[in-house]
Symmetry: C2
Subunit: 595 residues, 2 copies
Amino acid sequence: MSKIYIKNQNKALDYSPSKNLLEILLENDIFIDNPCNGKGSCGKCKVKLSGESLPEMSETEMKLLKEEEIKEGIRMACLVSPEGDIEVEVLQKERKHRILSTGYVPEFKYDPSIKKIAFKIDKPTLDNQISLEDSIIGALGVEEVELQVIEEVKDIDGTATAIFNGDHLLGIEKGDTIESLCGIAIDIGTTTAVATLVDMKTGKEVATASMINPQRKFGLDVLTRITYALENPKDSRAKLQYEIVSAINEMVKELCGESGVDQESIYEIAVAANCTMMHFLLGVDATSIGKSPYAPLFVKSKNIRASDIGIVANSRARLYCLPSVSSYIGADIVAGAYVCELHKASGNTLFIDIGTNGEIVLSNDGKLMSCSCAAGPALEGMNISFGMRASEGAIEDVKIGENGIETEVIGNEEAAGLCGSGILAVVKELIRTGIVKKNGAFIKKEKLDESDYRYDMIQLNGTKREFVLKEGPERILVTQSDVRQVQLAKGAILSGFYALLNKAGIDMGSLDRVMIAGQFGAHLPAESLVGTGILPEEVRDKIYYVGNSSKTGAYISLMSAESRKEIEEIAGKMEYMELGASEGYERLFADCLLF
Amino acid sequence: MSKIYIKNQNKALDYSPSKNLLEILLENDIFIDNPCNGKGSCGKCKVKLSGESLPEMSETEMKLLKEEEIKEGIRMACLVSPEGDIEVEVLQKERKHRILSTGYVPEFKYDPSIKKIAFKIDKPTLDNQISLEDSIIGALGVEEVELQVIEEVKDIDGTATAIFNGDHLLGIEKGDTIESLCGIAIDIGTTTAVATLVDMKTGKEVATASMINPQRKFGLDVLTRITYALENPKDSRAKLQYEIVSAINEMVKELCGESGVDQESIYEIAVAANCTMMHFLLGVDATSIGKSPYAPLFVKSKNIRASDIGIVANSRARLYCLPSVSSYIGADIVAGAYVCELHKASGNTLFIDIGTNGEIVLSNDGKLMSCSCAAGPALEGMNISFGMRASEGAIEDVKIGENGIETEVIGNEEAAGLCGSGILAVVKELIRTGIVKKNGAFIKKEKLDESDYRYDMIQLNGTKREFVLKEGPERILVTQSDVRQVQLAKGAILSGFYALLNKAGIDMGSLDRVMIAGQFGAHLPAESLVGTGILPEEVRDKIYYVGNSSKTGAYISLMSAESRKEIEEIAGKMEYMELGASEGYERLFADCLLF
């Protein structure tokens, strides 16, 4: 056993020298950003190292680091396999992320699956030696009573309260406990999870908590996590499940603590998530999602005991998982389609959830067709030179003008990088100002007059052109490669729109509305979306933001069995179109790349 | 820690001196007969003791032992709480019991709840990214598929076999396994358990095994076991359940070993048992059965995972427990009523299962009414001076005549005592020969002439008259008290018949048939039953023996879902009459006491 001393966190870890430093740190819950999941390609897992027996630097590592960094002792954690005692200085701090938890809520019928009924139990007599089971059946009109429920009742004298899940008797409590009936609505995203404590008697949202999805230690996106699962067939499923269940338990505890609600009062947890997160949550093998033909093991809704996966609530609590459509159209999108009432909408509505994957649903007079496009992580600030997630210090808006560059930074801190909305805003401005051309290439500096306000904003790094967003020692640059990343995302999403519209025989001008859902989309102003060409000019005035419609769908499925059924029907009817398998898609994609 | 050395079994046990010797021996699975469950009243738990620090004899102990026994060092295990190292000689040997496993089988429709279907699973394509769940749903026409079933299928390529319980998909196996489909039918009695391995494809009974119910260590009858449960609320349920589940597992293993059937081929276990045994089997609190108003916690049939209670078979195997009617009319009687087709019978049929409790069902043109009477253990050879269960060495038939006494002994061994049929036979003969009068009293020896063949058969023990069944050092006596025990049993059962007939407005002459069920009844010839007056003369020629109709009912419920439903309907419709609560019963009982 050797030791790692984390200098700036005053922690010491024992480790067996066989893994790389990134793995060791993540296993010990030391936060290290690693978008490429330790593949040695993103260059984000930098740490400062000292010690006697540090391994030599590989060529890959040298390439990813700047000369100054190498001098300072900076290393890439995923490329270092330490052997003796070493000292590590962690360079990133965990930042407070901004997570969207609210949104538009449609009307629905109050009719929760979980119900309570107070009743009295008749005692047997010598003339009527009725079994306790039959007494319960008589009082509640159920068909059967599970043995453990009968046992629950045997010492109850007088009033009792029955808890039902639909027609199914879940349990019986002593006394009248009608007043205590809460649920939790959860949206699990690949990046973040949001939970709301709901008073199911009134439908009131009592409190909301959010967290970064702790599965990120196994990769930032769906595919790297699936790769992790593939490479660790023995324990990856248990680990991935443990992380998300622990996060849920932490949020439930926080919500209850904050609002003074007893955890025992929680009888149902409803979860919307993408299809991979749902597989991970339920401990189901998700690896088939990651390889052609991309068929998941399940898409239907699930209704199981919450305790079966380790969720801590009332022992009888249920876990309801909303249904998905396919591997890449998950329950989060189905929830969104329900919340936006796409299945009832007349005319043509386009629903988009923009993230690493862009999910798109077209409603043509209520007929739903969907597709998913691999936008890549650029729009979430990843794979971008100075990219970061939407946390404190991230630039979220940019204006470029004759008087210079204006930026808006989350938390009003010193700018540390660009989050998704920031990168989109800057690219929009680069296009608007002509610094970036329609084909995505930077304008040549030599074509600009030195008096042009744009002249000093462009610099050459060897032969590569860069946009200087912020000068100084903590400078922030936007590179040609960054612009290409955005361009690829734009091409992917826009071609998805067109493919759906083509299939339905509709042109862009016939769209009545475009609904933007999700954490990320909510922070993208129409100006940026249209300015970068992710959405065409024709829909500029038809854009609506619906917020976290995934969690809203989970909330409604807690509160209304009728809506739950409708959501399941939507999932069953929504068509899915695999873009990669559709004719002429490659050509369409190429056309959509132009800004 | 002190030591107990079991001399004649060459075993040594460590023990903490706080319990009595009986408890210590039973906990260590040393067989000791204890009909009174360690209450110091039956005098059956005799052992020979030696050692340095033996506790002194109490007055109770002295009273229960003969002078010779005291001299030999015989003690009552339940009345000795040892402290130091001691030596024990166990006086009883475990005897081979005769257990009934066969009987009459009515016609039924072949239609097992457990079914298998072979099918092929379609693989998804890029054009049809169908989830594995939906492929299964499509192939099998089910409504839902549990997650673990989906997981079972994910590596199957080609043919698979689905296992159904009714409409519910239990699991899916690789390849075509249609040929492998077995079940186990079990009758659990208070004293014995019998299991049959059934090939569910053909209905063939492949093999049968039987065991003494190992719960006897906690008491020989239902009430002493319930008392044990009451006195040991913490762990008695787990212990009682463990004993019977272990016995089932042992029998299943034996059956599979004997017939070369893989334990994995067993998909269902069907159990008939009295209501208390069913509570114990399922780990449910049975204590309410033992106290007024004698209401059980449940009577309905149960269908659960066999593994939930620890039964080792196919991991998907179900456990079906037949329904009871009340605390003292159990699933064994319901099974019997079905097997004897009482619900379809025209005319008047009386069904009796004679044991410690006599259960009686009257079918009046298919309308079923039942009662249970506390016959006591005399008819099973218990609480009788020289009583024993029906095992090797037990006298099972007796003839008394001018030429002396003839006996039939089980296993043709030296007679060691009287089993139930033996005690009934001897009492019948005592009445027939006038040695015992109608009121149950022995004839006075002085009223007999010395030349009378009966004269030497009667002896005086103080003022008490005894019948000498066997002379010599290993003599066997029948005492006045023994006759009284049989008389009480006779009175209880006969009054039960009359109470049922009275309630239905039928007289004994209108009975069309009397069906005798069960382990014990099968060994009681009509001659003994009528000769002792347990059954009246009028029905002598209407008696039928149906054998172990409890296990037959379990067998049919394995083989036919339709019959299972009928059995459940019978349980729901059968009325139950509590004799103790019925008007005029005490008077009726007194009348029925006369031989």
